[in-house]
C-alpha cells in the first residue's frame, strides 16, 4: 500500500521492516524504523523519540533567573546554548537590556560552541560513517604523506614518519583488543569508499581533532568561569573586566584576552588546514552518494543568531541568518516571527501527549506538556518492549512542530540554504568554493553530504566571527566601557505581575527557542522547542513526515542488516555523540546488536 504525503513523499510499507534502536542517547533516546523494497531501497521511514523528557514541568514555580542552570543540564552537548537561550527568554520577558560587552562575550561563547561541536561532530561521530580506520592499517605511510601534502600543504604534520607512528599506535590499540572508539563498525561494508591512505589521513586527524578540541573549549572557561559548566547570568555575563589587572584568577584582563586571541587563531588554522581539506577529500570520493536530502530541498528554517549589536534581535542585525523557505522556492525567504501564534505551533496527533483538541496546534507560549503513552492497533510487541511501532497512531515522545503548517529541517544546512537564498556574501562565497572544488551542481547541497559540508563551512565561518567579536570587545573596552551586566531589574520586586518572553539561538544542530511565562515572579510555563524536535518530528494531522524521516526516503542500502546508510544520514543531523543500536528483522528476531559510533 502506498501513501502520498502532502510534502511530496511516496510511502510504501509493504517491504521488509528494519529497526534501529536506539540511534541516539542524548536529548532522549531515538529509534528508527524503515521499510525497504526488494532492491533494498528505503520506501518508508519512521522516527521515534523514545524517552520522556519533562524539563518543562520541573521548571514550573521556580525562579526564572535560575532556569538556565537547569536547562544546561538537559544534555551533555548543548549545555551553553540552552543556558544562553534561557537567559535570553527571561530578559525578553522582563525587558532587560544587556551591555554591549556581554553581547560580544556571549557571541564568542556561542560561536566557540559551534566551532567545537562541529569539529567534534565531524571527527568523533560522523567521520566513521565515511572513514574506515581498520582500512587505515593497510595504508602506505609514504603515500599518505604525499596525499596530505596535496590536500593541505599548510598542515605541518605530514611526514611519512608521523603517519607511520600513528599507524603503529592504531595497530597496538586494535591488537590489544580494545578498539575503543572504533569498536563495532561495519568495516567490511562496501558502502565505505575511501582508499587506505585517505583512511589513515582522516583517522590521524580524528586523533588530532580530539586532542585539539580541548584547547577550543578553554575560551568558554575563560569567560564562563567554572569548568566544565560555565556560569550564565540574566542581564549580562558573570565575569568582570579589568584590562589592567594581572594574574590568572579573577577579572578578564589583557593577558586572558590575548589567550583567547591565540586560541581563536589556532582554531581558524585547524579548521582551514585540517577540517575543510578533509571534508573536501572525503566528499570527492562520495560525490556520487547524494542521498539524504529529505526536506532540505523543500522546507528549511532558521531563527538566526549572533546579534551584531546588543539587544537587537531583528533579522538585519543577526549575523547567522534568519528565514524560512517553503517548497524549495529559493527566490522567496519568509521572515520568521517566534511570537506570532499562527507561525510556530506544536501538534501531537502522533506524539505521546494529550491536547484538548488534537486537530489544532499550540504556540509554545500556550504549550501543554501532558503525557499520554500508548501504542497503535498495528504495533507489535508490548508497551514495555516495542518490536514494531504503528506510525498510524501516536508513536513518539517528540511533538510535531510546524511553521505555518509545514514540517521543516533545521541545522547548519538550513542556515546555509537560507543564507545562500538571501545572497549572504560570506555564505555564498563558501558554498560556491565547495561546489567548484568538487565540481558538483548547487542541487548537490540537498543531501547528507551537503549537510556535512554546511557544518564544516559554518565551523570556518564561526571561527572567523569569534575573531570579529573579540576585536569588538577590545575596542569597546578601550573606549572606556567595561560593563558586563545590567542588574537594574535583578530584583523581582521590579518585575510586572505577569510577563512572557521568547529567547532563541542557533544551536550547533539547529534552531532552538525557549518560551517562558512568568507570573508572580515565578515560572508559570516554560516550553523548549529544540532542534531535535524539529528534525526528529513525527507525522502531523495532514500526514507530513518529519526531517529525519524524509531524509531516509529512497536511500539504497548495501546491506539492510548493516544500516551504515541510515546512520550516515541521521548522524549528518548531529543527533548525538555516542550511541548504540541493535538491528532486528521484520519478525522481531534479533540479527545483530552493535555499538555504533
Amino acid at each position: 500500500m502506498t501513501i502520498q504525503t502532502p510534502n511530496g513523499f511516496t510511502l510504501d510499507t509493504s517491504g521488509k521492516r528494519i529497526v534501529v534502536d536506539p540511534v541516539t542517547r542524548i536529548e532522549g533516546h531515538m529509534r528508527c524504523e524503515v521499510n525497504v523494497d526488494s532492491e533494498n531501497i528505503i520506501r518508508n521511514a519512521v522516527s521515534t523519540g523514545t524517552m520522556w523528557r519533562g524539563l518543562e514541568v520541573i521548571l514550573k514555580g521556580r525562579d526564572p533567573r535560575d532556569a538556565w542552570a537547569f536547562t544546561q543540564r538537559i544534555c551533555g552537548v548543548c549545555t551553553g546554548t540552552h543556558a544562553l537561550t534561557s537567559v535570553r527568554c527571561v530578559e525578553d520577558a522582563l525587558g532587560i537590556k544587556i551591555p554591549e560587552n556581554a553581547n560580544s562575550i556571549r557571541n564568542i561563547m556561542q560561536l566557540c560552541l559551534q566551532v567545537h561541536d562541529h569539529l567534534v561532530h565531524f571527527y568523533h561521530l560522523h567521520a566513521l560513517d565515511w572513514v574506515n580506520p581498520v582500512s587505515a592499517l593497510k595504508a602506505d605511510p609514504k603515500a599518505t604523506s604525499e596525499l596530505q601534502q596535496k590536500v593541505s600543504p599548510a598542515h605541518p604534520k605530514s611526514s611519512p614518519g608521523y603517519f607511520r607512528d600513528v599507524q603503529n599506535r592504531l595497530k597496538r590499540f586494535v591488537e590489544s583488543g580494545q578498539l575503543g572508539p572504533f569498536k563495532n563498525g561495519y568495516w567490511d561494508n562496501p558502502a565505505y569508499l575511501l582508499p587506505p591512505e585517505a583512511n589513515l589521513m582522516a583517522t590521524t586527524h580524528y586523533l588530532e581533532a580530539l586532542d585539539f578540541q580541548t584547547t577550543i573549549m578553554r575560551i568558554r572557561t575563560i569567560f564562563g568561569g567554572k569548568d566544565p559548566h560555565p556560569n550564565w547570568l540574566v542581564g549580562g555575563v558573570p565575569c568582570a573586566i579589568n584590562v589592567d589587572g594581572v594574574g590568572a584568577v579573577g577579572a578578564i584582563n589583557m593577558e586572558r584576552l590575548n589567550m583567547v586571541r591565540s586560541i581563536i587563531d589556532q582554531s581558524i588554522r585547524f579548521v582551514e588546514d585540517v577540517y575543510i581539506p578533509d571534508l573536501l577529500a572525503v566528499a570527492s570520493f562520495y560525490k556520487g552518494w547524494l542521498y539524504g536530502g529529505g526536506l532540505s530541498s523543500k522546507n528549511v528554517l532558521s531563527y538566526g543568531d549572533i546579534p551584531d549589536n546588543a539587544n537587537d534581535y531583528s533579522a538585519a542585525n543577526l549575523l547567522s541568518p534568519r528565514g524560512a523557505i517553503i517548497n524549495g522556492n529559493l527566490k522567496e525567504v519568509h521572515d520568521v516571527d517566534l511570537r506570532n501564534p499562527e507561525e510556530i505551533q506544536e501538534f501531537v496527533p502522533h506524539s505521546w501527549y494529550k491536547y484538548a483538541d488534537e486537530k489544532k496546534g499550540l504556540h509554545p507560549w500556550d504549550g501543554v506538556t501532558q503525557p499520554a503513552y500508548g501504542l497503535g492497533p498495528n504495533a507489535k510487541g508490548s508497551k514495555t518492549n516495542i518490536v514494531e511501532i504503528d506510525e498510524s497512531a501516536k508513536y513518539s515522545w517528540i511533538k510535531a512542530p510546524r511553521w505555518k503548517g509545514n514540517a521543516m529541517e533545521v541545522g547548519p544546512l538550513a542556515r546555509y540554504i537560507v543564507g545562500y537564498a538571501q545572497g549572504n556574501k560570506e555564505i555564498t562565497e563558501q558554498i560556491n568554493f565547495v561546489l567548484k572544488t568538487l565540481d558538483v551542481p548547487v542541487t548537490a547541497l540537498f543531501s547528507t553530504l551537503g549537510r556535512t559540508a554546511a557544518r564544516g563551512l559554518e565551523c570556518q565561518w564561526a571561527a572567523h566571527k569569534m575573531s570579529y567579536f573579540l576585536d569588538k570587545l577590545i575596542a569597546t573596552i578601550k573606549a572606556g566601557d567595561s560593563s558586563t551586566a545590567n542588574v537594574d531589574n535583578w530584583d523581582p520586586s521590579t518585575w510586572p505581575k505577569e510577563a512572557k518572553g521568547v529567547g532563541f539561538t542557533e544551536a550547533p544542530r539547529g534552531a532552538l527557542a525557549h518560551w517562558i511565562r512568568i507570573k508572580d515572579t515565578k515560572i508559570e510555563n516554560y516550553q523548549c522547542v529544540v532542534p531535535t524536535t524539529w528534525n526528529g518530528s513525527p507525522r502531523d494531522n495532514e500526514g507530513n513526515i518529519g526531517a529525519f524521516e524524509a531524509s531516509l526516503m529512497n536511500t539504497k542500502m548495501e546491506r539492510p542488516e548493516e544500516p551504515v546508510e541510515i546512520l550516515r544520514t541521521l548522524h549528518s543531523f548531529d543527533p548525538c555523540l555516542a550511541c548504540s543500536t541493535h538491528v532486528m528483522s521484520e519478525d522481531g528476531e534479533e540479527l545483530t546488536r552493535i555499538k555504533v559510533r
Binding site: 523528557r53 519533562g54 514541568v57 533567573r65 567554572k226 559548566h229 514495555t384
Partner: protein
Amino acid sequence: MEGMPEVLILGIGNLLWADEGFGVRAVEALHRTHAFAPNVKLMDGGTQGLYLIEHVRRADILVVFDAVDYGLPPGTMKLVEDADVPRFLGAKKMSLHQTGFQEVIATADLFGDLPRHLFLIGVQPEELEDYGGSLRDTVKAQIAPANAAALSYLARFGIEAAPRPAPLAETVTLSSPEVALGSYEDGRPSADAAYRHGDPRVVFGTPSDEEAR
C-alpha cells in the same frame, strides 16, 4: 621526593534524574567538608563526556563518583580500581552518560594518558526514572561513606585532606548555586503539577539493551 601527583576527584551524572545525581552530589559534599592542596581538583563533571578528556588526561590519580547499575540492592556501594574500571563500565548498561565516560577513559588511553591510578566509587541507584527528582534516602546515605572511601584511597598515596572547621554552606556547589541540593529539592513542583514518571518502557525496565553488553 618526586613532584606532587595531579589528582582529579570527579562526580559524574545527571542531577535531574534522581539517583543519577549521586556522583555530583557526592563530590559537592566532599568539597564542603574538606579542603585539599592545590594539586587536588574537585569537579562536577555532569554529563559533559568529551569535555572531561582534558582533565582526565592531565590527572595522575582519578577518583570517580557515580551511580552505577551493578544489579545489587539499592544503595550498595561498590569500589573498583584500575584495570577493572573500564571493563566494569563496559559490562552493563548503566545510564545515559556512562557510555560517554567509558569513551573518555578509552580515549585517554588511546593518547597514552590514562591516569596511573583509577578509582571508581559506584553506588547502586534506587530510582533513576524520576525526572526532576532528587537522591533517594538509601543513596543519599552513601554520600558520607563514599567520601570516606575516597579519602582513605587518597591517603594511600600520601594525599591528605583537611577537614574544614565547619562545613561550607549547603548552597556552595562546584558549578552554580542555582542547582544546590536544598533549593533543587525545595523548588520542585508538586506531583500534581509535574508528571513524575518516565517512559513506561523505561519505568518498567526494558530488557533489550541490558543483556547485550
